[in-house]
Protein backbone atom coordinates (compact mmCIF):
# COMPACT_ATOMS: atom_id res chain seq x y z
CA UNK A 1 0.00 0.00 0.00
CA UNK A 2 1.14 3.51 -0.77
CA UNK A 3 0.03 6.82 0.58
CA UNK A 4 0.03 9.58 -1.99
CA UNK A 5 -0.08 13.17 -0.75
CA UNK A 6 -0.47 15.75 -3.45
CA UNK A 7 -0.30 19.52 -3.01
CA UNK A 8 -2.18 21.04 -5.93
CA UNK A 9 -3.80 24.25 -7.05
CA UNK A 10 -7.28 24.50 -5.47
CA UNK A 11 -9.09 24.94 -8.77
CA UNK A 12 -7.65 21.62 -10.01
CA UNK A 13 -9.25 19.58 -7.24
CA UNK A 14 -12.44 18.54 -9.04
CA UNK A 15 -10.57 17.48 -12.17
CA UNK A 16 -8.14 15.35 -10.16
CA UNK A 17 -10.94 13.81 -8.14
CA UNK A 18 -12.91 12.84 -11.24
CA UNK A 19 -9.81 11.31 -12.85
CA UNK A 20 -9.03 9.25 -9.73
CA UNK A 21 -12.63 8.14 -9.58
CA UNK A 22 -12.41 6.83 -13.15
CA UNK A 23 -9.30 4.89 -12.19
CA UNK A 24 -11.32 3.15 -9.50
CA UNK A 25 -10.00 5.08 -6.52
CA UNK A 26 -13.07 5.94 -4.54
CA UNK A 27 -11.80 7.57 -1.38
CA UNK A 28 -9.68 10.60 -0.70
CA UNK A 29 -9.15 13.22 1.98
CA UNK A 30 -8.73 16.91 1.22
CA UNK A 31 -7.27 19.67 3.38
CA UNK A 32 -6.96 23.37 2.70
CA UNK A 33 -3.34 24.25 3.26
CA UNK A 34 -0.99 27.17 2.80
CA UNK A 35 2.64 27.01 1.87
CA UNK A 36 5.34 28.00 -0.50
CA UNK A 37 7.94 26.32 -2.69
CA UNK A 38 9.70 27.84 -5.64
CA UNK A 39 6.73 30.09 -6.29
CA UNK A 40 7.63 32.01 -3.11
CA UNK A 41 4.23 33.60 -2.50
CA UNK A 42 2.91 36.63 -4.36
CA UNK A 43 2.50 40.37 -3.95
CA UNK A 44 -0.79 42.08 -3.11
CA UNK A 45 -1.57 45.75 -2.47
CA UNK A 46 -3.84 47.26 0.16
CA UNK A 47 -4.51 50.99 0.22
CA UNK A 48 -1.45 51.72 -1.87
CA UNK A 49 0.99 49.60 0.13
CA UNK A 50 2.35 46.42 -1.43
CA UNK A 51 2.85 43.41 0.77
CA UNK A 52 4.13 39.90 0.33
CA UNK A 53 1.70 37.03 0.72
CA UNK A 54 4.24 34.34 1.63
CA UNK A 55 1.98 31.37 1.88
CA UNK A 56 -0.20 30.60 -1.06
CA UNK A 57 -3.46 28.75 -0.66
CA UNK A 58 -3.26 25.15 -1.91
CA UNK A 59 -5.23 21.98 -1.52
CA UNK A 60 -3.61 18.86 -0.11
CA UNK A 61 -5.24 15.60 -1.09
CA UNK A 62 -4.35 12.31 0.55
CA UNK A 63 -5.17 9.03 -1.07
CA UNK A 64 -4.18 5.47 -0.19
CA UNK A 65 -3.89 2.93 -3.01
CA UNK A 66 -2.77 -0.70 -3.45
CA UNK A 67 0.81 -1.03 -4.70
CA UNK A 68 -0.24 -2.00 -8.23
CA UNK A 69 -2.22 1.22 -8.70
CA UNK A 70 0.29 3.61 -7.18
CA UNK A 71 2.25 4.50 -10.27
CA UNK A 72 -0.86 5.01 -12.38
CA UNK A 73 -2.43 7.22 -9.72
CA UNK A 74 0.68 9.39 -9.40
CA UNK A 75 0.89 9.83 -13.17
CA UNK A 76 -2.78 10.67 -13.31
CA UNK A 77 -2.52 13.32 -10.62
CA UNK A 78 0.56 14.80 -12.21
CA UNK A 79 -1.04 14.99 -15.65
CA UNK A 80 -4.35 16.31 -14.43
CA UNK A 81 -3.03 18.92 -12.02
CA UNK A 82 -0.41 20.19 -14.42
CA UNK A 83 -0.87 23.67 -15.87
CA UNK A 84 2.75 24.13 -16.83
CA UNK A 85 3.10 27.11 -14.53
CA UNK A 86 5.17 27.58 -11.43
CA UNK A 87 3.15 26.75 -8.32
CA UNK A 88 1.48 23.60 -9.67
CA UNK A 89 2.47 21.73 -6.52
CA UNK A 90 4.15 18.46 -5.55
CA UNK A 91 3.33 14.81 -5.01
CA UNK A 92 4.74 12.86 -2.08
CA UNK A 93 4.64 9.05 -2.11
CA UNK A 94 5.30 6.91 0.93
CA UNK A 95 4.97 3.30 2.01
CA UNK A 96 2.12 2.66 4.35
CA UNK A 97 2.28 0.18 7.22
CA UNK A 98 -1.37 -0.57 7.50
CA UNK A 99 -4.98 0.49 7.13
CA UNK A 100 -7.95 -0.41 9.35
CA UNK A 101 -11.60 0.25 8.52
CA UNK A 102 -13.14 1.41 11.77
CA UNK A 103 -16.66 0.06 11.23
CA UNK A 104 -15.77 -3.56 10.32
CA UNK A 105 -12.25 -3.99 11.62
CA UNK A 106 -11.02 -5.10 8.17
CA UNK A 107 -7.37 -4.39 7.48
CA UNK A 108 -4.91 -4.30 4.60
CA UNK A 109 -6.02 -3.80 0.98
CA UNK A 110 -9.57 -4.79 1.92
CA UNK A 111 -9.84 -1.74 4.12
CA UNK A 112 -8.91 0.75 1.41
Amino acid sequence: MKKIEAIIKPFKLDEVKDALDKLGIHGLTVTEVRGYGRQKGHVEAYRGIEYQVQFNAKVKLEVVVPDNLAEKAVDLIRNTANTGNIGDGKIFISDLQGVVRIRTGESGDAAI
Binding site: R34, E44, R47, G48, I49, E50, V53
Partner: protein, 529 residues
Protein backbone atom coordinates in the same frame (compact mmCIF):
# COMPACT_ATOMS: atom_id res chain seq x y z
CA UNK B 1 -13.05 50.11 37.31
CA UNK B 2 -14.10 52.12 40.33
CA UNK B 3 -12.28 55.12 38.90
CA UNK B 4 -14.22 54.91 35.69
CA UNK B 5 -17.55 54.74 37.39
CA UNK B 6 -16.67 57.67 39.61
CA UNK B 7 -15.70 59.59 36.49
CA UNK B 8 -19.07 58.94 34.91
CA UNK B 9 -20.92 59.78 38.09
CA UNK B 10 -18.97 63.03 38.32
CA UNK B 11 -19.98 63.94 34.78
CA UNK B 12 -23.60 63.21 35.59
CA UNK B 13 -23.39 65.18 38.82
CA UNK B 14 -21.96 68.26 37.10
CA UNK B 15 -24.77 68.17 34.60
CA UNK B 16 -27.42 68.01 37.26
CA UNK B 17 -25.76 70.84 39.17
CA UNK B 18 -25.81 72.87 35.99
CA UNK B 19 -29.57 72.52 35.69
CA UNK B 20 -30.68 75.09 38.30
CA UNK B 21 -27.96 77.47 37.12
CA UNK B 22 -29.33 77.45 33.65
CA UNK B 23 -32.82 77.82 35.01
CA UNK B 24 -31.93 81.39 35.95
CA UNK B 25 -31.31 82.16 32.32
CA UNK B 26 -34.76 80.88 31.48
CA UNK B 27 -36.54 83.76 33.19
CA UNK B 28 -37.31 85.44 29.93
CA UNK B 29 -40.21 87.92 29.72
CA UNK B 30 -41.61 86.24 26.59
CA UNK B 31 -44.89 84.31 27.02
CA UNK B 32 -44.28 80.78 28.19
CA UNK B 33 -44.34 78.44 25.19
CA UNK B 34 -46.95 75.73 25.34
CA UNK B 35 -45.62 72.23 24.95
CA UNK B 36 -47.81 69.59 23.36
CA UNK B 37 -46.82 66.02 24.18
CA UNK B 38 -49.77 64.58 22.26
CA UNK B 39 -49.13 66.60 19.13
CA UNK B 40 -52.85 67.21 18.57
CA UNK B 41 -52.55 70.98 18.43
CA UNK B 42 -49.37 71.11 16.40
CA UNK B 43 -49.78 72.57 12.93
CA UNK B 44 -52.70 74.79 12.00
CA UNK B 45 -53.94 77.57 9.76
CA UNK B 46 -50.90 79.67 10.59
CA UNK B 47 -48.70 77.07 8.92
CA UNK B 48 -50.55 77.53 5.63
CA UNK B 49 -49.35 81.12 5.31
CA UNK B 50 -46.51 81.33 2.83
CA UNK B 51 -46.50 77.56 2.31
CA UNK B 52 -46.48 77.90 -1.48
CA UNK B 53 -46.21 80.86 -3.83
CA UNK B 54 -49.99 81.05 -4.11
CA UNK B 55 -50.75 80.45 -0.44
CA UNK B 56 -52.93 82.92 1.45
CA UNK B 57 -51.18 85.76 3.24
CA UNK B 58 -51.70 86.69 6.86
CA UNK B 59 -54.14 89.43 5.76
CA UNK B 60 -56.07 86.98 3.58
CA UNK B 61 -56.49 84.69 6.55
CA UNK B 62 -57.63 87.51 8.83
CA UNK B 63 -60.29 88.77 6.44
CA UNK B 64 -61.39 85.27 5.49
CA UNK B 65 -61.95 84.14 9.06
CA UNK B 66 -65.01 86.42 9.29
CA UNK B 67 -66.46 85.72 5.86
CA UNK B 68 -65.72 82.03 5.51
CA UNK B 69 -65.43 80.24 8.86
CA UNK B 70 -65.47 76.80 7.24
CA UNK B 71 -62.51 77.70 5.02
CA UNK B 72 -60.62 78.79 8.11
CA UNK B 73 -61.32 75.49 9.78
CA UNK B 74 -60.20 73.67 6.65
CA UNK B 75 -57.05 75.78 6.54
CA UNK B 76 -56.39 74.55 10.05
CA UNK B 77 -56.55 70.95 8.87
CA UNK B 78 -54.41 71.71 5.83
CA UNK B 79 -51.83 73.31 8.09
CA UNK B 80 -51.86 70.28 10.37
CA UNK B 81 -51.39 67.97 7.38
CA UNK B 82 -48.53 70.06 6.10
CA UNK B 83 -46.71 69.85 9.41
CA UNK B 84 -47.52 66.13 9.59
CA UNK B 85 -45.87 65.49 6.25
CA UNK B 86 -42.80 67.37 7.41
CA UNK B 87 -42.69 65.49 10.69
CA UNK B 88 -43.11 62.08 9.08
CA UNK B 89 -40.39 62.99 6.57
CA UNK B 90 -38.06 64.08 9.35
CA UNK B 91 -38.69 60.92 11.36
CA UNK B 92 -38.28 58.54 8.43
CA UNK B 93 -35.08 60.28 7.39
CA UNK B 94 -33.91 60.05 11.00
CA UNK B 95 -34.52 56.30 10.88
CA UNK B 96 -32.41 56.12 7.72
CA UNK B 97 -29.59 57.98 9.43
CA UNK B 98 -29.86 55.64 12.41
CA UNK B 99 -29.28 52.75 9.99
CA UNK B 100 -25.97 54.36 9.06
CA UNK B 101 -24.72 53.05 12.41
CA UNK B 102 -24.92 49.60 10.84
CA UNK B 103 -23.00 50.89 7.86
CA UNK B 104 -20.25 52.29 10.05
CA UNK B 105 -20.07 49.07 12.03
CA UNK B 106 -19.67 46.94 8.91
CA UNK B 107 -17.27 49.30 7.13
CA UNK B 108 -14.99 49.72 10.11
CA UNK B 109 -15.02 46.05 11.06
CA UNK B 110 -14.40 44.91 7.50
CA UNK B 111 -11.38 47.19 7.23
CA UNK B 112 -9.83 45.88 10.45
CA UNK B 113 -8.40 42.49 11.32
CA UNK B 114 -10.35 39.39 12.27
CA UNK B 115 -8.83 39.18 15.73
CA UNK B 116 -10.37 42.56 16.61
CA UNK B 117 -13.69 42.20 14.79
CA UNK B 118 -15.75 41.69 17.95
CA UNK B 119 -14.17 44.72 19.60
CA UNK B 120 -14.70 47.01 16.61
CA UNK B 121 -18.32 45.87 16.31
CA UNK B 122 -18.85 46.37 20.03
CA UNK B 123 -17.64 49.95 19.88
CA UNK B 124 -19.89 50.73 16.95
CA UNK B 125 -22.84 49.12 18.65
CA UNK B 126 -22.36 50.71 22.06
CA UNK B 127 -21.66 54.23 20.79
CA UNK B 128 -25.28 54.21 19.71
CA UNK B 129 -26.48 53.70 23.26
CA UNK B 130 -23.78 55.64 25.09
CA UNK B 131 -23.96 58.60 22.75
CA UNK B 132 -27.73 58.69 22.91
CA UNK B 133 -27.79 58.77 26.71
CA UNK B 134 -25.17 61.52 26.83
CA UNK B 135 -27.11 63.50 24.27
CA UNK B 136 -30.33 63.02 26.22
CA UNK B 137 -28.70 64.19 29.45
CA UNK B 138 -27.34 67.49 28.17
CA UNK B 139 -26.07 67.28 24.58
CA UNK B 140 -29.41 68.12 23.00
CA UNK B 141 -29.98 71.02 25.39
CA UNK B 142 -26.57 72.51 24.67
CA UNK B 143 -27.06 72.15 20.94
CA UNK B 144 -30.69 73.01 20.30
CA UNK B 145 -31.83 74.64 23.55
CA UNK B 146 -31.68 78.09 22.00
CA UNK B 147 -32.74 77.42 18.45
CA UNK B 148 -35.98 79.34 18.97
CA UNK B 149 -38.36 76.99 17.18
CA UNK B 150 -38.44 75.04 13.95
CA UNK B 151 -41.00 76.51 11.56
CA UNK B 152 -41.24 73.50 9.25
CA UNK B 153 -42.18 71.29 12.20
CA UNK B 154 -44.68 73.82 13.51
CA UNK B 155 -43.25 74.32 16.97
CA UNK B 156 -40.33 73.68 19.30
CA UNK B 157 -40.77 77.27 20.48
CA UNK B 158 -39.83 76.19 23.98
CA UNK B 159 -36.24 75.82 22.87
CA UNK B 160 -35.62 79.53 23.19
CA UNK B 161 -32.86 79.96 25.72
CA UNK B 162 -29.38 80.55 24.39
CA UNK B 163 -26.49 81.44 26.65
CA UNK B 164 -24.68 84.27 24.87
CA UNK B 165 -21.89 86.69 25.52
CA UNK B 166 -22.38 90.24 24.35
CA UNK B 167 -19.53 91.98 22.59
CA UNK B 168 -20.06 95.41 21.05
CA UNK B 169 -23.82 95.12 21.47
CA UNK B 170 -23.96 91.85 19.55
CA UNK B 171 -24.96 88.58 21.15
CA UNK B 172 -22.69 85.66 20.39
CA UNK B 173 -24.55 82.47 21.26
CA UNK B 174 -22.43 79.77 22.87
CA UNK B 175 -24.84 77.05 23.98
CA UNK B 176 -28.50 76.38 24.61
CA UNK B 177 -29.97 75.85 28.05
CA UNK B 178 -33.36 74.20 27.51
CA UNK B 179 -34.08 70.55 26.98
CA UNK B 180 -32.00 68.71 29.58
CA UNK B 181 -33.24 65.12 29.87
CA UNK B 182 -35.96 66.10 27.36
CA UNK B 183 -38.03 67.06 30.39
CA UNK B 184 -40.26 69.92 31.48
CA UNK B 185 -41.21 72.20 28.59
CA UNK B 186 -39.33 69.89 26.20
CA UNK B 187 -41.94 67.17 26.66
CA UNK B 188 -43.35 68.05 23.27
CA UNK B 189 -43.93 66.05 20.09
CA UNK B 190 -41.98 68.48 17.91
CA UNK B 191 -39.03 68.63 20.28
CA UNK B 192 -38.94 64.85 20.58
CA UNK B 193 -38.90 64.57 16.79
CA UNK B 194 -36.10 67.10 16.64
CA UNK B 195 -34.23 65.16 19.31
CA UNK B 196 -34.44 61.93 17.35
CA UNK B 197 -33.22 63.56 14.18
CA UNK B 198 -30.38 65.47 15.83
CA UNK B 199 -29.39 62.48 17.98
CA UNK B 200 -28.68 60.20 15.02
CA UNK B 201 -26.50 62.92 13.51
CA UNK B 202 -24.54 63.24 16.73
CA UNK B 203 -24.12 59.46 16.81
CA UNK B 204 -22.58 59.58 13.36
CA UNK B 205 -19.93 61.96 14.68
CA UNK B 206 -19.33 59.87 17.76
CA UNK B 207 -18.77 56.68 15.80
CA UNK B 208 -16.21 58.16 13.39
CA UNK B 209 -13.23 58.10 15.82
CA UNK B 210 -13.85 54.42 16.59
CA UNK B 211 -12.52 53.80 13.07
CA UNK B 212 -9.27 55.71 13.34
CA UNK B 213 -8.67 54.36 16.84
CA UNK B 214 -9.71 50.77 16.15
CA UNK B 215 -7.70 47.69 17.12
CA UNK B 216 -5.84 49.24 20.06
CA UNK B 217 -8.26 51.29 22.18
CA UNK B 218 -9.38 50.16 25.64
CA UNK B 219 -13.12 49.79 25.97
CA UNK B 220 -13.12 51.74 29.25
CA UNK B 221 -11.56 54.78 27.63
CA UNK B 222 -13.97 54.45 24.73
CA UNK B 223 -16.98 54.58 27.07
CA UNK B 224 -15.74 57.80 28.69
CA UNK B 225 -15.14 59.24 25.22
CA UNK B 226 -18.67 58.31 24.15
CA UNK B 227 -20.18 60.43 26.89
CA UNK B 228 -17.77 63.32 26.41
CA UNK B 229 -18.26 63.80 22.68
CA UNK B 230 -22.05 63.45 22.87
CA UNK B 231 -22.42 65.74 25.89
CA UNK B 232 -19.84 68.44 25.18
CA UNK B 233 -17.83 68.46 21.96
CA UNK B 234 -20.47 67.84 19.33
CA UNK B 235 -23.28 69.90 20.90
CA UNK B 236 -21.18 73.05 21.24
CA UNK B 237 -19.99 73.31 17.66
CA UNK B 238 -23.39 72.16 16.42
CA UNK B 239 -25.00 74.94 18.44
CA UNK B 240 -22.77 77.53 16.80
CA UNK B 241 -23.85 76.50 13.30
CA UNK B 242 -27.31 74.96 13.71
CA UNK B 243 -28.58 76.02 17.11
CA UNK B 244 -28.54 79.79 16.56
CA UNK B 245 -25.00 80.21 17.89
CA UNK B 246 -22.39 82.71 16.84
CA UNK B 247 -21.16 81.15 13.59
CA UNK B 248 -24.67 81.26 12.16
CA UNK B 249 -24.82 84.99 13.00
CA UNK B 250 -21.75 86.00 11.01
CA UNK B 251 -23.99 87.06 8.15
CA UNK B 252 -26.33 89.09 10.31
CA UNK B 253 -23.54 90.87 12.20
CA UNK B 254 -20.70 91.17 9.70
CA UNK B 255 -22.34 90.74 6.31
CA UNK B 256 -20.56 87.47 5.61
CA UNK B 257 -23.17 85.86 3.35
CA UNK B 258 -25.67 83.85 5.40
CA UNK B 259 -23.17 83.16 8.16
CA UNK B 260 -21.56 79.74 8.26
CA UNK B 261 -23.88 77.51 6.24
CA UNK B 262 -23.68 73.75 6.67
CA UNK B 263 -26.84 72.22 5.27
CA UNK B 264 -26.57 68.67 6.59
CA UNK B 265 -23.32 68.61 8.49
CA UNK B 266 -20.06 68.38 6.50
CA UNK B 267 -18.44 70.25 9.35
CA UNK B 268 -20.92 69.84 12.19
CA UNK B 269 -21.04 66.08 11.88
CA UNK B 270 -18.17 64.84 9.74
CA UNK B 271 -15.39 67.30 10.34
CA UNK B 272 -16.05 67.19 14.08
CA UNK B 273 -15.82 63.40 13.92
CA UNK B 274 -12.76 63.45 11.67
CA UNK B 275 -10.86 65.99 13.76
CA UNK B 276 -11.71 64.03 16.92
CA UNK B 277 -10.46 60.94 15.10
CA UNK B 278 -7.21 62.77 14.33
CA UNK B 279 -6.69 63.86 17.94
CA UNK B 280 -7.52 60.35 19.14
CA UNK B 281 -5.21 58.58 16.69
CA UNK B 282 -2.34 60.93 17.61
CA UNK B 283 -2.82 60.34 21.35
CA UNK B 284 -3.24 56.60 20.91
CA UNK B 285 -0.28 55.99 18.58
CA UNK B 286 -0.09 53.51 15.72
CA UNK B 287 -0.98 49.83 15.94
CA UNK B 288 1.90 47.50 16.69
CA UNK B 289 3.60 46.58 13.42
CA UNK B 290 2.03 49.40 11.42
CA UNK B 291 5.30 51.22 10.89
CA UNK B 292 8.71 49.66 10.31
CA UNK B 293 11.75 50.94 12.18
CA UNK B 294 12.58 53.27 9.32
CA UNK B 295 9.08 54.75 9.56
CA UNK B 296 7.65 53.31 6.34
CA UNK B 297 4.16 51.89 6.73
CA UNK B 298 3.21 48.23 6.55
CA UNK B 299 -0.10 47.08 5.08
CA UNK B 300 -2.44 45.59 7.68
CA UNK B 301 -5.20 44.45 5.34
CA UNK B 302 -8.80 44.44 6.49
CA UNK B 303 -10.20 40.98 7.06
CA UNK B 304 -13.52 41.20 5.25
CA UNK B 305 -13.71 43.43 2.20
CA UNK B 306 -17.27 42.40 1.21
CA UNK B 307 -18.43 43.37 4.71
CA UNK B 308 -16.74 46.75 4.37
CA UNK B 309 -18.28 47.39 0.96
CA UNK B 310 -21.72 46.43 2.23
CA UNK B 311 -21.17 48.92 5.05
CA UNK B 312 -20.29 51.66 2.58
CA UNK B 313 -23.45 50.95 0.59
CA UNK B 314 -25.56 51.11 3.72
CA UNK B 315 -23.94 54.43 4.52
CA UNK B 316 -24.69 55.73 1.03
CA UNK B 317 -28.32 54.63 1.46
CA UNK B 318 -28.62 56.26 4.86
CA UNK B 319 -27.11 59.41 3.43
CA UNK B 320 -30.35 60.14 1.57
CA UNK B 321 -31.93 60.59 4.97
CA UNK B 322 -28.93 62.53 6.17
CA UNK B 323 -29.03 65.15 3.42
CA UNK B 324 -32.59 65.26 2.14
CA UNK B 325 -33.92 64.92 5.69
CA UNK B 326 -31.99 67.97 6.81
CA UNK B 327 -34.64 70.09 5.14
CA UNK B 328 -36.74 68.98 8.15
CA UNK B 329 -39.54 69.27 5.65
CA UNK B 330 -41.21 66.87 3.24
CA UNK B 331 -43.11 69.78 1.69
CA UNK B 332 -39.95 71.68 0.75
CA UNK B 333 -39.56 70.13 -2.66
CA UNK B 334 -35.92 71.08 -2.94
CA UNK B 335 -35.42 67.60 -1.44
CA UNK B 336 -35.42 66.24 -5.01
CA UNK B 337 -32.39 68.34 -5.88
CA UNK B 338 -30.72 67.53 -2.58
CA UNK B 339 -31.08 63.76 -2.96
CA UNK B 340 -29.85 63.79 -6.54
CA UNK B 341 -26.84 65.98 -5.76
CA UNK B 342 -26.00 63.56 -2.97
CA UNK B 343 -25.97 60.58 -5.34
CA UNK B 344 -23.96 62.37 -7.98
CA UNK B 345 -21.20 63.47 -5.65
CA UNK B 346 -20.82 59.94 -4.29
CA UNK B 347 -20.50 58.61 -7.83
CA UNK B 348 -17.78 61.03 -8.86
CA UNK B 349 -16.01 60.56 -5.53
CA UNK B 350 -15.83 56.80 -5.98
CA UNK B 351 -14.88 57.08 -9.64
CA UNK B 352 -12.09 59.59 -9.11
CA UNK B 353 -10.50 57.74 -6.21
CA UNK B 354 -10.66 54.54 -8.25
CA UNK B 355 -8.95 56.25 -11.20
CA UNK B 356 -6.36 57.85 -8.92
CA UNK B 357 -5.35 54.49 -7.46
CA UNK B 358 -5.41 52.85 -10.85
CA UNK B 359 -3.13 55.45 -12.37
CA UNK B 360 -0.64 55.78 -9.54
CA UNK B 361 -0.74 52.36 -7.88
CA UNK B 362 -1.51 49.99 -10.73
CA UNK B 363 -4.88 48.60 -9.60
CA UNK B 364 -8.31 50.08 -8.78
CA UNK B 365 -8.07 49.55 -5.03
CA UNK B 366 -11.55 48.67 -3.83
CA UNK B 367 -11.10 49.89 -0.26
CA UNK B 368 -9.95 53.30 -1.48
CA UNK B 369 -12.77 53.50 -4.00
CA UNK B 370 -15.23 52.77 -1.19
CA UNK B 371 -13.60 55.50 0.89
CA UNK B 372 -13.91 57.75 -2.17
CA UNK B 373 -17.64 57.09 -2.33
CA UNK B 374 -17.93 58.19 1.29
CA UNK B 375 -15.60 61.15 0.71
CA UNK B 376 -17.92 62.41 -2.04
CA UNK B 377 -20.89 62.02 0.29
CA UNK B 378 -19.15 63.85 3.13
CA UNK B 379 -18.17 66.72 0.85
CA UNK B 380 -21.65 67.16 -0.66
CA UNK B 381 -23.31 67.12 2.76
CA UNK B 382 -22.90 70.85 3.36
CA UNK B 383 -23.54 72.14 -0.18
CA UNK B 384 -26.15 69.56 -1.30
CA UNK B 385 -29.04 72.01 -1.14
CA UNK B 386 -27.29 74.98 -2.68
CA UNK B 387 -25.53 73.72 -5.80
CA UNK B 388 -26.41 72.42 -9.26
CA UNK B 389 -25.60 68.97 -10.58
CA UNK B 390 -22.35 69.96 -12.34
CA UNK B 391 -21.05 71.49 -9.13
CA UNK B 392 -22.09 68.40 -7.19
CA UNK B 393 -20.09 66.18 -9.55
CA UNK B 394 -17.07 68.50 -9.33
CA UNK B 395 -17.27 68.63 -5.52
CA UNK B 396 -17.43 64.84 -5.35
CA UNK B 397 -14.59 64.42 -7.84
CA UNK B 398 -12.29 66.72 -5.91
CA UNK B 399 -13.27 64.86 -2.73
CA UNK B 400 -12.27 61.52 -4.28
CA UNK B 401 -8.80 62.76 -5.23
CA UNK B 402 -8.39 64.69 -1.99
CA UNK B 403 -9.16 61.51 -0.10
CA UNK B 404 -6.33 59.55 -1.75
CA UNK B 405 -3.80 62.33 -1.28
CA UNK B 406 -4.87 62.75 2.32
CA UNK B 407 -4.72 59.04 3.16
CA UNK B 408 -1.13 58.87 1.98
CA UNK B 409 -0.22 62.16 3.64
CA UNK B 410 -1.63 61.06 6.98
CA UNK B 411 0.07 57.67 6.80
CA UNK B 412 3.39 58.46 5.14
CA UNK B 413 4.16 62.02 6.19
CA UNK B 414 2.36 62.47 9.49
CA UNK B 415 2.95 58.81 10.45
CA UNK B 416 -0.53 58.56 11.95
CA UNK B 417 -2.21 55.16 11.84
CA UNK B 418 -5.82 55.41 10.67
CA UNK B 419 -7.02 51.86 9.89
CA UNK B 420 -10.17 52.87 8.02
CA UNK B 421 -9.25 56.31 6.66
CA UNK B 422 -11.67 58.18 8.93
CA UNK B 423 -9.46 61.27 9.22
CA UNK B 424 -9.27 61.66 5.45
CA UNK B 425 -12.86 60.71 4.65
CA UNK B 426 -14.57 62.75 7.35
CA UNK B 427 -12.06 65.35 8.53
CA UNK B 428 -10.44 66.52 5.32
CA UNK B 429 -13.52 66.17 3.16
CA UNK B 430 -15.74 67.65 5.84
CA UNK B 431 -13.60 70.78 5.62
CA UNK B 432 -13.69 70.66 1.83
CA UNK B 433 -17.47 70.28 1.85
CA UNK B 434 -17.96 73.30 4.08
CA UNK B 435 -15.65 75.42 1.91
CA UNK B 436 -17.36 74.28 -1.28
CA UNK B 437 -20.61 75.99 -0.21
CA UNK B 438 -18.71 79.26 -0.31
CA UNK B 439 -17.49 78.49 -3.83
CA UNK B 440 -20.30 76.69 -5.66
CA UNK B 441 -23.59 77.82 -4.06
CA UNK B 442 -25.63 79.19 -6.95
CA UNK B 443 -28.11 81.40 -5.11
CA UNK B 444 -31.24 79.44 -5.99
CA UNK B 445 -31.99 78.25 -2.46
CA UNK B 446 -31.62 79.32 1.14
CA UNK B 447 -33.72 82.49 1.23
CA UNK B 448 -34.07 83.78 4.79
CA UNK B 449 -31.58 81.22 6.09
CA UNK B 450 -30.01 82.55 9.30
CA UNK B 451 -32.12 85.67 8.89
CA UNK B 452 -30.59 86.82 5.58
CA UNK B 453 -32.78 87.39 2.53
CA UNK B 454 -31.74 85.97 -0.83
CA UNK B 455 -30.29 82.58 -1.73
CA UNK B 456 -26.96 81.31 -0.48
CA UNK B 457 -24.38 82.40 -3.04
CA UNK B 458 -20.76 81.32 -3.36
CA UNK B 459 -17.68 83.01 -4.77
CA UNK B 460 -18.19 81.64 -8.29
CA UNK B 461 -21.65 83.17 -8.32
CA UNK B 462 -20.61 86.51 -6.89
CA UNK B 463 -20.51 86.41 -3.09
CA UNK B 464 -17.05 86.21 -1.54
CA UNK B 465 -18.49 86.95 1.89
CA UNK B 466 -20.09 83.53 2.07
CA UNK B 467 -16.68 81.95 1.49
CA UNK B 468 -15.26 83.96 4.39
CA UNK B 469 -18.01 82.64 6.65
CA UNK B 470 -17.24 79.09 5.52
CA UNK B 471 -13.52 79.57 6.22
CA UNK B 472 -14.42 80.86 9.68
CA UNK B 473 -16.41 77.66 10.21
CA UNK B 474 -13.56 75.39 9.11
CA UNK B 475 -10.95 77.18 11.24
CA UNK B 476 -13.24 77.26 14.26
CA UNK B 477 -14.07 73.59 13.94
CA UNK B 478 -10.46 72.50 13.61
CA UNK B 479 -9.11 74.62 16.43
CA UNK B 480 -11.98 74.04 18.84
CA UNK B 481 -12.51 70.33 18.26
CA UNK B 482 -8.84 69.44 17.99
CA UNK B 483 -7.74 71.30 21.10
CA UNK B 484 -10.71 70.14 23.17
CA UNK B 485 -10.43 66.49 22.13
CA UNK B 486 -6.64 66.46 22.41
CA UNK B 487 -6.84 67.74 25.97
CA UNK B 488 -9.68 65.34 26.71
CA UNK B 489 -7.73 62.32 25.47
CA UNK B 490 -4.56 63.36 27.28
CA UNK B 491 -6.34 64.00 30.58
CA UNK B 492 -8.66 61.01 30.41
CA UNK B 493 -5.63 58.85 29.63
CA UNK B 494 -4.26 59.69 33.07
CA UNK B 495 -7.41 58.35 34.72
CA UNK B 496 -8.44 55.63 32.26
CA UNK B 497 -5.53 54.39 30.10
CA UNK B 498 -6.39 54.49 26.41
CA UNK B 499 -3.99 51.92 25.06
CA UNK B 500 -4.41 48.18 25.52
CA UNK B 501 -1.48 46.07 26.72
CA UNK B 502 0.86 45.04 23.88
CA UNK B 503 0.29 41.33 24.48
CA UNK B 504 -3.47 41.84 24.29
CA UNK B 505 -3.07 43.80 21.09
CA UNK B 506 -1.02 40.99 19.54
CA UNK B 507 -3.49 38.33 20.56
CA UNK B 508 -6.49 40.38 19.55
CA UNK B 509 -8.78 42.66 21.51
CA UNK B 510 -11.79 40.40 21.18
CA UNK B 511 -10.99 38.01 23.99
CA UNK B 512 -9.34 40.59 26.27
CA UNK B 513 -11.54 43.65 25.89
CA UNK B 514 -15.01 42.35 25.02
CA UNK B 515 -14.90 38.76 26.25
CA UNK B 516 -16.04 37.17 23.04
CA UNK B 517 -14.16 36.39 19.85
CA UNK B 518 -15.94 37.27 16.64
CA UNK B 519 -14.99 34.06 14.85
CA UNK B 520 -14.54 31.29 17.45
CA UNK B 521 -14.87 28.47 14.92
CA UNK B 522 -11.96 29.60 12.78
CA UNK B 523 -8.23 29.41 13.22
CA UNK B 524 -7.04 32.92 12.48
CA UNK B 525 -3.80 32.84 10.63
CA UNK B 526 -1.74 35.58 9.12
CA UNK B 527 -0.50 34.72 5.66
CA UNK B 528 1.35 37.91 4.86
CA UNK B 529 3.86 40.19 6.42
Amino acid sequence: MRKNISFLVLALFLTIVALPLTAVAEDAPAPAPVSDPSGASIGGAADVIGATTGAPTKEDMASMSEKEPLATKLADVVGHNRISINMVWTLVCGFLVMFMQAGFALAETGFTRAKNAGHTMAMNMMIYGIGMLGYWICGFAFQMGGVGGVASLGGAGALANEFSITIGGKDFGLFGTTGFFLSGVSYDAVIFTLFLFQMVFMDTTATIPTGSMAERWTFKSFVVFGFFISMITYPLYANWVWGGGWLSCLGKYFGLGHGTVDFAGSSVVHMTGGVSALAGAICLGPRLGKFREDGTPNALPGHHIPMAILGCFILAFGWFGFNAGSSLSGTDLRIGVIATNTMLASASGAFCSMMYMWMFYGKPDISMAANGLLAGLVAITAPCAFVNSVSAVIIGAIAGVLLCISVFFVERTLKIDDPVGAISVHGVNGAWGLLSVGLFADGTYGDALNGITGGVTGLFYGDGGQLMAQIAGVVTNFVFVFVLMFIFFKVSNLIVPMRVKPEHELEGLDQHEVAVTAYPDFVLQKTHR
